[in-house]
Symmetry: D3
Subunit: 338 residues, 6 copies
């Protein structure tokens, strides 16, 4: 099985430990990005995965590519050219202090890429699944067009298409997001998101109070049904984050197919690094579905995988299938493995 | 508005992470001190603040001054001369293991300063508020005299005077503390402390059992009333720390004016660095009062500010007014700010 | 009082912070080992302690020895020769992600040592206590023989002998463990372990469900009685770890002598580094017994000591008797010690 | 005396030690920039200096400002607004391997600033000297206009104007550089550069072979005379870097006034960090001239100051006047100062 | 063009900076090995390269593989199984203090590999070149046999075979080395080494005094001729290291084909990390020969490449063809590349 | 053979790498001191050595003691009590920038020790050699008296007494130094120093120009003869440092006995850390003399030992006798030891 993901690769510059940005004289640096995170996690699960993007043709771009090579993600179809490396600054929160992310991604190579940079027919050769996120069309008009083109070719070639709605208010307004996402969702088989995404990117609202972490399972059912009805998605999945503080979160998820609704186990996570949690969920879900787990297993796998990711430094989920199954089938009691 | 704070600037040498002192080959180093911490925090809140001290005339003293310049604290009135840089060693505790502080501040430049080193009339030019702490007079007899002189001039020039009682048993006995503090408190408008301070520095006792973190709100009212009656303070504020462990504390505060008693929201804090918590509270309270918040808002601002401080490495509160208001008016759920 | 401990000294290579192994370009390095950890802790408690092992005759072996010298453990009887330095890789877990240990100790100098390398009559000169663990005989057939020889000489010379069962499934099968341990236990006065040890190393089983951390005190009584009856041990002690997650554990212990059963206070520990927890318990218990604390005090001292160890980085318990007594007699509320 | 410098403040992200970029998981981070470096160095020399720029209105911009505050550079006239923080990646060279700089400064706040952002009449109030570099006009057309406006106002108000030619081929072509610089040089009293600058930014060529570090003093005289004749500069100064390798450089300079030519002592420098060497030279020269040293002393001070800078990590020259005089008047033998 | 290299992958644990081993609490860690270093360097030169070895089937082995993936070395033919990860401790020397390497590679997975683990016919499918070193047969008798088998198949399939003699006295005696190497050399087209290798691994001696770094070019000619005559090698290349100190070395090389003798330029290198210097030379030479450079260019490329490697931390040569050509065709003056 | 050294143990806080003090947020920390350095080096040479001092009775003092235990220096006679830990800040120089040391040792436990703290008769039991330095009497009047007492008892008990003159101008004037040192030198058998020491501490002057590193061997002979004549020393040794820069020094030494004059080989050292160079020389000389090397060998051993020390981080000489002999008898070419 081969999965293609498409998006922006970013340099993440994070303050070490629980220091504020620039409090110390160094920044931890890794490369990441919502769609690349999915490719890395799938590759760590043993799935043949490829990542598509455009990178600046300099030592920073080359290093970014090496960061994916390390995990055996196929980078052979990445193109290089004009533009800069998008980046973001991360300050990790603790207790009542929230994490802060400052994006600096304007003029990145991928955001100014041209539709001619990607030959989707050739890229999708031999592939089974295409994954993108709501960040792709948010980056620029050309990125919307490239993503749309990719979706069309993917469907034409019979790939399953998944999309993580991933609404980012710093990138576009809810109005613009809805305009683009409603078009793209026509091509999507598996729609992933959370409550805020549904509201902002698709205009579907329920009465839950996200801030207070009161979760309303019925509401999620209704949103999922709406999405399935309007866009014909086979699967709709939501992550349910209960943010008690920047240090401790509840984490679970739901999955709806056309007939049923599956609620996962909930994990109480002492957070190490929550960035990339949603991406590792998407990767876990794709893995579950592509390997034909039953739906309950698939959502349990996805939520266990993304629970583990949030206990590791960095955006990438470095866990194996075995690690995830151990948690999924075990007690999560964290006894030492000698 | 311009606030003047006066005290000792210290070099803090702390073991990295949760290592014991000298377990690793390096020490993290920052400059700090109860009164300087207040000046830095106020400057970060946009208040014009100046710090007064005496520093050794060498590269260590110069670096200490630069640490305050960074936050735009006015250091132009700091004097230099004989004596060493006071310092302390910090070992951060965790769970049942308490943090340890080893002071090495004997013979510091400020503790051997002379009353002639400070021209308070000129220092207070254009200032609205003077803040000192119980550490000042504890350092030496001359420091008591300098502090008393500063209080007298401050009152004469119409400044508001605040004092954080900050009793330190390694610096002086309760008996000596009371002798000095009772004199100084005559000049104080805003008295800040905790239960132990009231007992040790002022000889006012109630029956609370601090060790067990059982908080007795009525008791605090009585102490506050006593202080107001005896010394004529307009405001008395207490921080209420419930120390469940070295990793997790409850944190709240009370404020009393001549008429009413205001109890703040309580935060359950997963501690990052609790040193400087009281100083950031004092700064928050001064900010609230000097900007004419109502009393409930002022105490909520102070306690939210100091909650945030305890989630950041180092003694300084690096948060802005906006950060504090976000917590104060929000849920403290720590969701990522993108 | 002089205590001799015997075993393997290992190089521990651990991923910094909560990173996965080799996620960052460095590994933290310390020397440790179950029996050495006991010697270091006892030395920190003021007990004259010596550690016996065989080390490779190179700069790594010499550094290992220095690591014990630092804590005044007597290393003068360590011998040097062929073989390598055994080591293990450690990845610290968090929340639902377990810690991982990968041993690389085959062919270590001690595991290929000969019975002629150790003159126990001379080693035990002036000693009062001999401590070994179940890891010793697990390393090799010759190590079983050397350990047996040591036990025989120790008993002959009137030393008290203690053994921490320390079953390690990567080192030997339960069957082989039982074969060896049943022989050695004949010489043991103080037997230390946990439930899994009793079952795997001695074949004594009860119905507790370790994984779910449901503790069955009655069961422990029965195991202890069995051990006392079968092997004539004067004391049997068990640590009771309730592993809620890799970040938070309950920690307590029980001690049985021929007449009574003593249950300690339970600590809820926010873990910093749980490796070496059992060793610090053994050291605490030996300290309590050798200094003639009463049995309840001894088990409280042991469990408080090992609680503190788990809040410190590294395998060694760097706490003093005073630190332990402060926790044992105090509230464990973690207030700053200034 | 008060000096105003104007330009771009950059975030420098450098690989630690002699690693290649992204070889390790962290980057050292400091803020710097040709013109800011001059302001910092002058402030360290005791000169009242202010830095003018436009910064992004986020935590990165605020941190950049704090980096200047630390050295008491007046940042009160910096404006904030749209745009990003310009940055560069630095890989330090060694021996035959050259240092590499990758700029990422497109769309920085200052490069998209408007002429209305700076009120030069008010900025120059009370100032004696204005310093800019050839990087300013290279950033954008608006920056050329702003710089020209600043020059005009500076001359009108009687300030001395200095310019470091600082040709950067990644920013503009020699042709465009000449077009702009020839206009700006009309306002310049003190022109600073090196041979490459003279050729690329002003079109003045001599036959020296820079690559081979053969220095031709006569040639420099001729270039200086040309510049003085064409643009009426009072002083022309050139740094003479003999690059034997990335680890070892010869360093000296020449200064020409209308009558004479002054050649400095030459230092053989074992490089620690050569970036910012030219800026520290400019600061040293401005200091020498503004404090009325004689010309030989001025050039000696400038070259000694910049020699020291190249033995310190980071772009900033953290040395004091005393440090520079000690080298200038001493032997440079590096004996320990106790 | 596709190159296959075969050998042991090692974990390198090095003391940070110029500290002695275990002087600090951490070790820098990278994966490397003579033959893997060649594969990485070739891949960085754009050559399709694959590395063949056997790794332990655990997280350490997986991390080792990822370290090669990062550089796009084909690791798909690496097999996994029993045995440990070989490793070495490195202490970097300085000035008169030599670097120290302590090997700990006994029982590594590759050294106990079986001849059945490698299907050379399939491995060499599509390959043009096979590279091994004298370390391979030194590891064990089975490794000698596997290497011999590889050589036979390589020749049968028409690959060019290169061998770096790489004599290691800690691994085998000169006598045993000669016994094995004389057999293997029958299959070698390109023989690489230094004077000590020729003497110890092949028994060919000349009168040079290596210790004093007096180089005797005529002697090298004679050795090369002997090797060509005895074993029929098409090319013989020697690196000429003049070790003035642990900090400064002269570095050049010679290449002989059947007709001529080519001497390279000499570089005076301020060493950053000299380990892997010989491997990067071999990679440079293979690159030169496989891309049909003329012989002088090939040796210049090889020596420039390996000069650069010695200015970078770690065993891997992270330089590109462009980097090497810039040095080879330039002056090596180390001017900043902006 | 047993050597006793006596003096102050200091905490050294040094800026990492070539940063200025407090440029980065951490300081490297080690414990050291002229006399302790000698004890550590002798212990590393296999000599039974003990260090005598007084330490503060807190965690800092205990850590200081552990730092000596690590190297098996006998610390059992160290006493504890009032006073602080003396310390110094170190900024490592490079090229033309000198290293800077800022002492902060006033009121240290040893400097305020009483003559009753040390029972020299008991301390010298079983000892053969006593070593002190000119820093001891410089610390305080009581330290002069304690040192004098120690000298008297040492001589009475037949120990050899050595003294490193170690003049420190920050501690006392030349006048005071001469007053004390002339008294103490009456008891000294082996006098060690450099030219500046002879002049400042003993008032013996020659015309060498230390600053320019022009060494005048004849001058040294004359000084040595004077010292031998005036004080009856059996041996006088001088280190000859030629400070070309803070990065590169020439290093050699001379030794005079009553009949002859021995000049050592000279090493050109690329410095890693020159602090403690003189102490490692003293230790090397004591080793040479105590083990009955001939005089030429003794001075060669001392200068080779101290050459190596200056290539290692920290004050301690971590080299073994074997390391020193390898350099002394070899070429110092720094070839890798595998």
């Amino acid at each position: 099985m081969r999965v293609i993901t498409f998006g922006e690769l970013l340099l993440r510059l994070s303050a070490p430990g629980y220091n504020k940005l620039f409090q110390r004289g160094s920044l931890d640096c890794t490369f990441c990005g919502g769609e690349a995170n999915v490719a890395v996690s799938l590759s760590n699960f043993g799935i043949d995965s490829a990542f598509i993007t455009k990178l600046p043709n300099n030592d920073v771009g080359h290093a970014a590519e090496r960061a994916l090579n390390e995990f055996k993600v196929d980078t052979s179809r990445i193109c290089c050219g004009e533009g800069r490396m998008g980046l973001y600054y991360l300050e990790k929160g603790a207790s009542q202090r929230p994490s802060k992310i400052i994006y600096d991604r304007v003029n990145s190579a991928i955001s100014i890429a041209s539709i001619k940079d990607f030959d989707w027919n050739s890229i999708f050769e031999g592939a089974d699944w295409f994954h993108f996120t709501g960040i792709d069309p948010a980056l620029s008009q050309s990125m919307f067009e490239i993503t749309l083109e990719a979706c069309k070719v993917a469907k034409a070639k019979g790939l399953t298409v998944s999309c993580d709605l991933n609404y980012r208010k710093k990138l576009w307004s809810s109005e613009n997001a809805q305009k683009a996402m409603k078009v793209l969702l026509e091509y999507v088989d598996v729609c992933i998101g959370n409550e805020e995404d549904a509201q902002m990117a698709l205009g579907i609202q329920i009465e839950n109070d996200v801030e207070n972490a009161n979760l309303n399972i019925d509401g999620y059912k209704k949103i999922a049904e709406k999405i399935q009805k309007e866009y014909g998605c086979k699967y709709v999945a939501f992550t349910l984050r209960e943010s008690y503080s920047a240090s401790m979160n509840g984490w679970s998820a739901v999955l709806c197919d056309s007939k049923s609704f599956y609620l996962s186990k909930k994990y109480e996570i002492q957070l190490v690094d929550r960035v990339g949690g949603g991406d590792s969920f998407a990767a876990g879900l794709i893995y579950g579905l592509i390997t034909k787990m039953n739906n309950q297993q698939a959502i349990e796998f996805a939520v266990a995988a993304s629970c583990l990711k949030q206990t590791i430094e960095g955006d990438f989920n470095r866990c194996s299938v075995e690690d995830v199954l151990t948690l999924m089938n075990g007690s999560g009691n964290g006894r030492v493995q000698r």
